[in-house]
């Protein structure tokens, strides 16, 4: 398949989306490795993170790559969104792709939040409490959402965050990303202003 890349798209600003995807690939790879040793129960979670960082060979490196890639993915996705906004690339016929991108951004932030909680130190438990409070403040459906996240105790909560972080959110990200990329091929890269 022939691919035409227009000259204006060689600008580094047009690499931000690709960088976001590169970080995602790194996160999936290192995330699978971390999942080998991580134990999602309140009694063992923090100790298993310490074990990965201090005892497992190159565990500090893998965890470090996961951590910095997570931060990098959020930074580059926000910059990517700004680039698309200020070059007007969200306009017709690309409105739907903008909406998919907003969904990807929201999922990325959720992945960051759920991953932060998995560490299960004092900060993470506090963050989980704040997140539950935010969910609870949503009118009408807040109680139901809180129950879905909380379960009946902290053991349930951690399992649910674990499932969301490893399966639900990455799965949804993959589906939306496939759609995002397919639509870019379909519409081609937006012309400059």
């Amino acid at each position: 398949m022939d691919t035409k890349i227009t000259v204006h798209a060689l600008n580094p600003m047009y690499c931000l989306g690709g960088l976001t995807f590169l970080f995602f690939v790194l996160l999936v790879t290192t995330g699978i490795m971390l999942a080998i040793y991580y134990k999602p129960t309140p009694d063992t979670a923090y100790d298993s993170v310490q074990f990965i960082t201090l005892n497992v060979r190159y565990g500090w490196l893998i965890r470090g790559i996961h951590f910095y890639s997570a931060n990098g993915m959020i930074i580059t996705s926000i910059l990517h969104m700004l680039r698309v906004y200020f070059t007007g690339a969200y306009k017709k016929p690309r409105e739907l792709n903008w909406l998919v991108g907003v969904g990807l951004g929201a999922l990325t932030l959720m992945a960051g939040f759920t991953g932060y909680v998995l560490r299960w130190d004092q900060e993470a438990v506090g963050a989980a409490g704040v997140g539950l409070g935010l969910a609870d403040s949503i009118p009408q459906v807040g109680g139901t959402i809180t129950y879905l996240i909380w379960g009946s105790n902290y053991t349930d909560t951690l399992s649910r965050f674990f499932a969301c972080h490893l399966l639900l959110i990455p799965g949804m990200l993959l589906i939306l990303m496939a759609f995002h990329f397919w639509m870019i091929r379909r519409h081609e890269i937006a012309k400059p202003l």
């Binding site: 490795m33 310490q50 005892n55 497992v56 060979r57 565990g59 490196l61 893998i62 004092q122």
Partner: protein, 151 residues
């Protein structure tokens, strides 16, 4: 090209050692260190010292029942505890406490157990050995391992 391939493959091979579960290291040994003489710590007095290595604070307390010593790092978030005779006086009918100023953790000076506040575990208790001259030696731990902040 070849150099690039080798430069990529070797690090990846090294990093793949990640999947091998690390072996537990053998039992940790602790040094036997002289802390003080029995004459130098008055009854109900305390003395800060460093054990098992430099900059790791520990505390020696002269109770009516005798001498005891603990790791002096609060098991909550790692502040240094001190033997306080006033702040928590009267708690649980015990006038003297091991007290952490950060979040109000209180430990029993008799055995290191948590009496109040947020600490999740008792203080590690240091094994003491007093010789004929009255010199007090720290010689490992009786209970409470692992130490806070050290794997």
């Amino acid at each position: 090209m070849l150099l690039g391939a080798v430069g990529l493959v070797i690090p990846l091979l090294k990093i793949s050692e990640f999947v091998f579960v690390p072996q537990q290291t053998g039992p940790v040994t602790y040094p036997r260190l002289r802390i003080a003489n029995t004459n130098s710590v008055p009854a109900n007095g305390s003395l800060l010292f460093e054990y098992p290595h430099k900059d790791r604070p520990a505390i020696l307390i002269h109770l009516p029942q005798g001498f005891v010593a603990y790791d002096a790092i609060c098991t909550h978030l790692g502040c240094q505890i001190h033997y306080d005779q006033t702040v928590a006086a009267g708690w649980e009918n015990n006038p003297y406490q091991n007290f952490c100023p950060c979040h109000g953790g209180v430990f029993d000076p008799k055995n290191g157990n948590v009496l109040g506040g947020p600490p999740p575990r008792p203080l590690p208790k240091i094994k003491l050995d007093i010789d004929n001259q009255g010199d007090i030696y720290a010689d490992g731990y009786e209970s409470g391992l692992p130490l806070y902040g050290e794997a």
